[in-house]
């Protein structure tokens, strides 16, 4: 750590894409391990929670494999050229093997004692890769150089799906383009087959993936035209083979997996349907349709009860053996294009953006979990290439999160199909309910949309403004439905249509008090009175069109900020209607902080993004971060913090109340944080220490707390329940039972004590005294567990355990009684409250 308060860019969402490597089940099928960006993640299969996040690689994790000789260990490979061996139960890295070149896939075999197989790029050549085996020396020490490489196969495909190892590691099959090669380790024999020789009739026969049957000499390959071929190779004769074809997929087969016994085959493609081929035949197949998005990887648990599919949108579905969907593990779902922008839901403080196609995902930043996914389009999603899908393009929340407006769009040759939907938050069902649907709100694409943000004024002042490429902006208001038989009392309708010289309306923004509306029309910003809808004034800063506009807040509410695509950031004073200042910056994103005057602007200049934070009333920025990241930053959002952070330095005061998140071109969600990665990770790992082997759900935690509380209350109230009694004599019994048998005195000696301990002690004891005893006993039990007693000591004690008990009671009773009286006083008041 250089400086404690240095602001750094941190990737959030606990890592990046899950799609780097095939997920692996642990041996007991309780956990799922998969690579996620630079990390290896461990999920609990029972709850779907992230149990562990193992970080240490410096680049994308490309392979995750269990150590075949120790099921508690895990190998992972990464593009940084290292293979790491982990103890995943504790999350400790055991060893790191440095190979040197990029590792693109990792395979570990039970038959190979001390080596693993990796795909590496061939020396000196860029686009050819080879499968090599790496000898992992058993030398001591954490970091070991693994330079003992031997090439197994030349010219293999880069994808980890294109290599598979046959039963008991006898052979390895590799596919590339139209060629299949099988290499036998023992005989050192290489057989090559190719598909194009056999069939030349249409279609793309390229191989996409290969798997080997676990017990038989059978290889299954998937092809780009959707066919699956099963090769039965007679391995004794070089040129004899038979194959059968299974065809259901209409597009590329993305992954295949044999069941553990090899009786059935699972396949998945971009149709997002999991197909189960029973008995490896065409006749009997089962389907699990509508998995959400294309199936990237399929893996099967070692006991055959579960299988999981990893999808291209960063989601894992866990599926029972009878093809029943059981749960999905999802973080931030990556959609192809985030058109909605980053929006913060005022109610949950969740980040809202495009999720699954046609859905809106509510992503909780704190827990790295998807809160829920709202189906906006409500249409069946058809997975097919070059089909124009309905896309969610704009989202806006009203100030309290009571109303949600969404725009969906489907591009067509002539004019786009547009729908504006307004959703009402239903308190009863705790979800959004569709209130109004407006077909074709504009004749062309909607460019921007905003609600009038006013906290104090409720529904009656709620206004929605949409701007469109059809050169108008429209104002929508709530109208009361006069028809008493209508299902809902309010609906939305258009109130005003405004335009300015037939320019395309590009952006809109309400001032903080809601009295002014700024709409940008190409190169001009127009300001409208939101009551009378009169045009108040116009601003422009030629040349160039307006890219973003926003009003200043709080003390700076008299300023209007605009960014043009000619690289100018301008600030206009609304009182004097004059340009206050301007700066020459190519601003891509302009984001005001809802809780302060600060405005964040992200610029893009000579292949790096920079961040400027400024207040509109002074042209000098408060904070500049050059080289924020190498990618273009698409979107940004300020998310309010739950509690204001105690900022270390004056410089980062602007981060005190809200946190800045931004999304890059490659859909990485990043944030700025003063804390380092380790600090950020610690709280989660602390929490993980609680759950040892059993999965602890939030519910069980809650229940446990409740139970503990309840038992505490029982004691406090002086209620004596029978099980308390049993607890009372447990230490004596425990002592008896936990002492090794060979050091115990004879049974005849122990028996009376044991029986005595089981007896219910004095009848005339008041409830208080008994309660005393309970507490004292538990104290004693703690003592017992803390101290390791000698045998002799124990024998001494054994002679008179009951006496000792009595003594202790007498000693402590006075003090305890005082305590109890206090408690009782408190209790009565507490009860009376009920």
């Amino acid at each position: 750590m250089v400086a404690p308060a240095a602001l750094r860019v941190v990737r959030c969402g606990g890592g990046g894409r899950l799609c780097g490597a095939r997920p692996v089940f642990s041996a007991d099928a309780k956990y799922l391990l998969c690579g996620s960006g630079d990390f290896v993640k461990m999920y609990s299969l029972a709850t779907g929670e992230t149990l562990r996040l193992m970080g240490g690689h410096a680049d994308l994790v490309t392979g995750v494999q269990l150590n075949p000789h120790n099921h508690m260990q895990l190998y992972s490979s990464s593009l940084d050229g290292r293979i790491k061996l982990w103890d995943f139960m504790d999350g400790i890295p055991i060893k790191t093997f440095t190979v040197g070149s990029k590792l693109l896939a990792l395979y570990a075999l039970a038959s190979c004692e001390d080596s693993v197989f990796v795909i590496v790029p061939k020396n000196g050549e860029r686009d050819t890769f080879q499968l090599v085996s790496v000898k992992l020396t058993k030398a001591a020490g954490q970091d070991i150089e693994a330079k003992d490489l031997s090439v197994v196969l030349d010219d293999v495909d880069v994808s980890p799906k294109c290599i598979a190892f046959g039963r008991e590691g006898e052979y390895v099959a590799s596919v590339k383009d139209v060629n299949l090669q099988v290499y036998f380790f023992k005989r050192k024999q290489l057989n090559k087959f190719s598909v194009s020789v056999m069939k030349t009739k249409g279609g793309n026969h390229n191989f996409t993936c290969v798997v080997c049957h676990p017990t038989e000499d059978c290889i299954a390959t998937g092809h780009a035209d959707g066919k699956i071929r099963l090769w039965y190779v007679n391995f004794h004769h070089k040129r004899e083979y038979t194959f059968s074809t299974l065809h259901w997929h209409h597009d590329v087969v993305l992954d295949l997996a044999f069941s553990m016994e090899g009786t059935s085959l699972l396949s998945g493609g971009i149709e997002s349907v999991l197909v189960l081929w029973q008995n490896l035949s065409d006749r009997q197949k089962d389907f699990l349709p509508r998995l959400g998005s294309a199936v990237e990887y399929i893996s099967v648990s070692p006991d055959g009860t579960l299988c999981c599919t990893l999808h291209t949108d960063n989601r894992i579905s866990i599926i029972n053996s009878n093809l029943r969907f059981s749960r999905s593990i999802q973080g931030l779902i990556k959609s192809r294009d985030v058109k909605t922008g980053l929006v913060v839901d005022p109610r949950t403080k969740a980040l809202v953006l495009n999720g699954e196609p046609g859905h809106l995902q509510f992503y909780c930043l704190q827990s790295d979990q998807q809160l829920f996914s709202l189906d906006i389009v409500q249409q069946q999603y058809i997975h097919q290439a070059d089909l124009k899908q309905v896309d969610l393009v704009k989202v806006a929340f009203s100030a309290q999160g009571k109303w949600l407006a969404t725009v969906e769009e489907r591009e067509e040759e002539t004019d786009p199909e547009l729908q504006l939907k307004l959703w009402f938050y239903d308190e009863e069902t705790q979800s959004f309910k569709l209130n109004t649907r407006i077909n074709t709100p504009h004749d062309d694409q909607i460019t921007d949309m905003c609600f009038r943000d006013m906290d104090e004024m409720e529904d009656d002042s709620l206004i929605l403004v949409t701007t469109g490429r059809d050169c108008v902006f429209k104002v929508w208001v709530i109208v009361e439905d006069t028809d008493p038989e209508a299902q809902q009392s309010v609906s939305w309708s258009c109130d005003f249509v405004g335009s300015y010289h037939n320019y395309q309306a590009t952006n809109c923004c309400f001032s903080e008090d809601g009295s002014l509306l700024a709409v940008s029309f190409e190169g001009t910003v127009t300001v409208w009175d939101s009551v009378t809808w009169d045009l108040k004034c116009t601003f422009c800063h030629p040349p160039g069109k307006i890219r973003n506009i926003c009003f200043g807040r709080l003390t700076c509410s008299k300023y209007l900020i605009g960014a043009t695509d000619h690289g100018f950031l301008c600030c206009w004073n609304l009182l004097s209607c004059a340009l206050e200042w301007s700066a020459h910056l190519n601003i891509l994103v302009l984001q005001p902080d809802p809780l302060s005057e600060h405005i964040a602007a992200v610029s893009w200049l000579s292949k790096e993004s920079s961040l400027f934070v400024f207040k509109p009333n002074e042209p000098r920025p408060i904070y500049i971060q050059r080289n924020l990241c190498k990618e273009k930053i698409q979107l940004a959002a300020f998310v309010p913090r739950d509690e204001p952070e105690t900022a270390g330095s004056e410089k980062y005061l602007w981060l005190r109340r809200s946190q800045l998140f931004f999304l890059t071109d490659t859909q990485e969600l990043m944030t700025l944080s003063t804390r380092s990665l380790e600090e950020r990770l610690t709280p989660s790992s602390k929490q993980l220490a609680v759950e040892e082997s059993l999965p602890v759900t939030p519910f069980s935690l809650l229940l446990g707390k409740h139970r503990r509380q309840q038992s505490q209350e029982d004691i406090d109230l002086g209620k004596l329940i029978v099980h308390n009694k049993q607890e009372q004599d447990s230490p004596a019994v425990k002592e008896l039972l936990h002492t090794p048998a060979h050091v115990l005195p004879s049974a005849s000696f122990l028996c009376p004590i044991f029986i005595k301990s089981l007896l219910i002690s004095k009848e005339n004891k008041s409830a208080e005294e008994v309660a005393d005893e309970v507490e004292m006993e538990s104290e004693k039990a703690e003592d017992d567990s803390d101290e390791e007693r000698d045998v002799t000591e124990m024998e001494q004690e054994d002679t008179s355990p009951s006496e000792l008990l009595g003594e202790m009671t007498c000693k402590l009773s006075k003090y305890q009684e005082k305590e109890l009286r206090k408690i009782r006083k408190m209790d009565y008041s507490w009860i009376s409250a009920f």
């Binding site: 699990l288 509508r290 998995l291 959400g292 579905s317 969907f325 999905s328 189906d375 409500q378 249409q379 069946q380 058809i382 097919q384 089909l387 124009k388 309905v390 489907r410 004019d415 199909e417 649907r437 077909n439 074709t440 004749d443 059809d470 108008v472 429209k474 028809d483 038989e485 005003f496 249509v497 405004g498 335009s499 809808w533 009169d534 045009l535």
Partner: protein, 520 residues
């Protein structure tokens, strides 16, 4: 992992009138019977006893019609000039009518010649009626007076000369035999008590009063005059309860339905409006060919009779209610088979195994789930779905388009199916809610079946129909644009300069949407 999501059938807001219980009730009349009278029908009155004949006063005659008769059962025609306001007594035996020459005549329903003739008023008597004790008659006429007559003696009991203009309407209280009300062109409604010498209450309506009505309870008074229908609380001393302005011409007649829950008003603007007497909102309205002068509703709302200025009597009979006998025939399983086991409360030691909730999918959803696009399209082109819920058909077409299989689902169809598809498209393509989808469908159909055009006369005809429908729609849109242009000019001249800006924008937005429709 998610379950299959069924196709979203878009719900569109229903434009036009909403179907309520009232609309269903008031629509339940047969097509009207038109009967030509000799002159403007100034009064229709139903006999309060079965068989509910009704007396129609028009010109110098009073016709009595039976319930279903198109010809009058009986005619009283001994008037020299116009007769007015033929009214039945509560027992249905006597009928009284005023006349232009000023005499009031009392008829026995079964007889022909008048039983009594009350001569006294010098000018036309426009309103007559029985008090609820059956032995007295009140009248009002053009001599500004309201009088009371004794039937047995045939003499005038009392005459009130309080109105300052023609008395044109009146009614007697059903609760008190001494109380009657008259409304006059002097803009007032006066309440008289036969036991006193003057009016008890005067209510200022504000317009010449054309019709008055008392509620069954006698506590509420309804007056109609000018464009207004006003409801007054008599028990509170004539306080205005509600003022209704739903007609755009003078309201001429009022009527309550048999239950007293609905108030009907007829007007010269050719409409009959039906109000709920609890909320005083219009729940339904009828319109007629010409201005309405009189209106009556038979007991149990069996018949609505409306008399008009051109002498046409419009009679609507209620449709007989359908009895659902078929459903009764089918034997339902006993109630206990449904509740069997439902009432069992699980004990503490019981394990509860809940049945998974079964999602029932529609046929087209099942087919879509298994990717059978062509069959799914077939399923939604079945008559019940295609005819009654075209939005489902369109939703499935849209879903198929979204899946990229619409073209293959549309292709490979025979003559009959193409015919069906084209009929559907041609019918619905002009509906704005379906246009965007059906234009794509029409495009694809023309693309796919272009090579076979000319091989089948039926298909060719459908193509022509489609072309015609689209051509018509384009013309229509162009016309609308012209109207819009005119309106823009009008708005521009009307609006003040300060408000000019938003107004301009609004109209711009409107024009653009219509333009895109035209492009489609």
């Amino acid at each position: 992992m998610a379950t299959y999501k069924p196709v979203v059938v878009q719900a569109f807001p229903k434009l036009g009138e909403k179907i309520t219980q009232d609309t269903l009730y008031w629509r339940g009349y047969k097509t009207p019977v038109q009967i030509k009278e000799f002159g403007a029908v100034n009064k229709i009155h139903f006999s309060p006893v079965p068989p509910y004949n009704y007396a129609v006063t028009a010109s110098s005659r009073i016709h009595i019609y039976g319930r279903y008769s198109q010809e009058p059962i009986k005619t009283f025609s001994r008037f020299k000039d116009a007769a007015y306001c033929a009214t039945y007594r509560d027992d249905g035996n006597l009928l009284v009518a005023g006349s232009e020459e000023g005499s009031i005549r009392l008829f026995d329903v079964s007889g022909r010649a008048p039983l009594r003739q009350f001569d006294g008023p010098t000018k036309a008597v426009h309103v007559v009626g029985f008090l609820s004790d059956k032995y007295r008659i009140f009248s009002g006429g053009d001599d500004y007076s309201s009088s009371l007559w004794d039937i047995p003696n045939g003499t005038e009991i009392i005459s009130y000369n309080e109105h300052t203009d023609y008395v044109r309407c009146g009614c007697a209280s059903k609760v008190n035999a001494d109380v009657f009300i008259t409304g006059s062109y002097d803009h007032t409604v006066k309440l008289f008590d036969a036991r006193t010498k003057g009016s008890v209450m005067t209510i200022e309506h504000g317009h010449p009063v054309e019709s008055v009505l008392l509620f069954q309870s006698g506590g509420l008074l309804v007056s109609a005059g000018g464009r207004y229908v006003k409801v007054w609380d008599i028990l509170k001393g004539g306080q205005l309860l509600v003022s209704l302005k739903n007609h755009h011409k003078t309201v001429t007649c009022l009527c309550l339905n048999s239950s007293g829950q609905r108030l009907l008003s007829g007007s010269l603007d050719r409409h009959v409006k039906i109000y709920s007497t609890t909320s005083y909102k219009v729940v339904h309205s009828f319109n007629y060919a010409t201005s309405i002068l009189s209106l009556a509703l038979s007991p149990e709302d069996e018949t609505i009779v409306v008399g008009m200025t051109n002498g046409v009597l419009n009679v609507k009979h209620r449709k007989p209610e359908k009895r659902k006998e078929e459903s009764q025939k089918k034997r339902q399983p006993a109630y206990r088979t449904y509740v069997k086991g439902r009432t069992y409360m699980p004990k503490q030691e019981d394990f509860c195994v809940s049945k998974p909730v079964k999602h029932i999918l529609r046929k087209y959803d099942k087919l879509l789930k298994s990717f059978q696009s062509s069959k799914a399209l077939d399923a939604v082109l079945e008559p019940p779905i295609r005819l009654h819920t075209p939005e489902v058909t369109v939703a499935v077409m849209q879903e198929l388009h979204r899946r990229g299989t619409l073209r293959s689902a549309l292709a490979g169809r025979d003559e009959k199916q193409i015919n069906l598809l084209l009929t559907f498209v041609a019918r619905h393509v002009v509906e704005p809610r379906f246009t965007s989808v059906l234009v794509t469908v029409a495009d694809m159909i023309t693309d796919i079946y272009q090579p076979v055009v000319g091989q089948s006369a039926i298909v060719d005809r459908q193509f022509l129909k489609l072309q015609e429908a689209i051509g018509k729609e384009i013309d229509y849109q162009e016309e609308l644009l012209e109207v819009l242009g005119m309106m823009d000019t009008l708005f521009a001249t009307f609006t003040k300069k300060s408000a000019a800006y938003p107004e301009e924008n609004r109209s711009n937005g409107l024009t653009e949407t219509i333009e895109t429709n035209t492009n489609n």
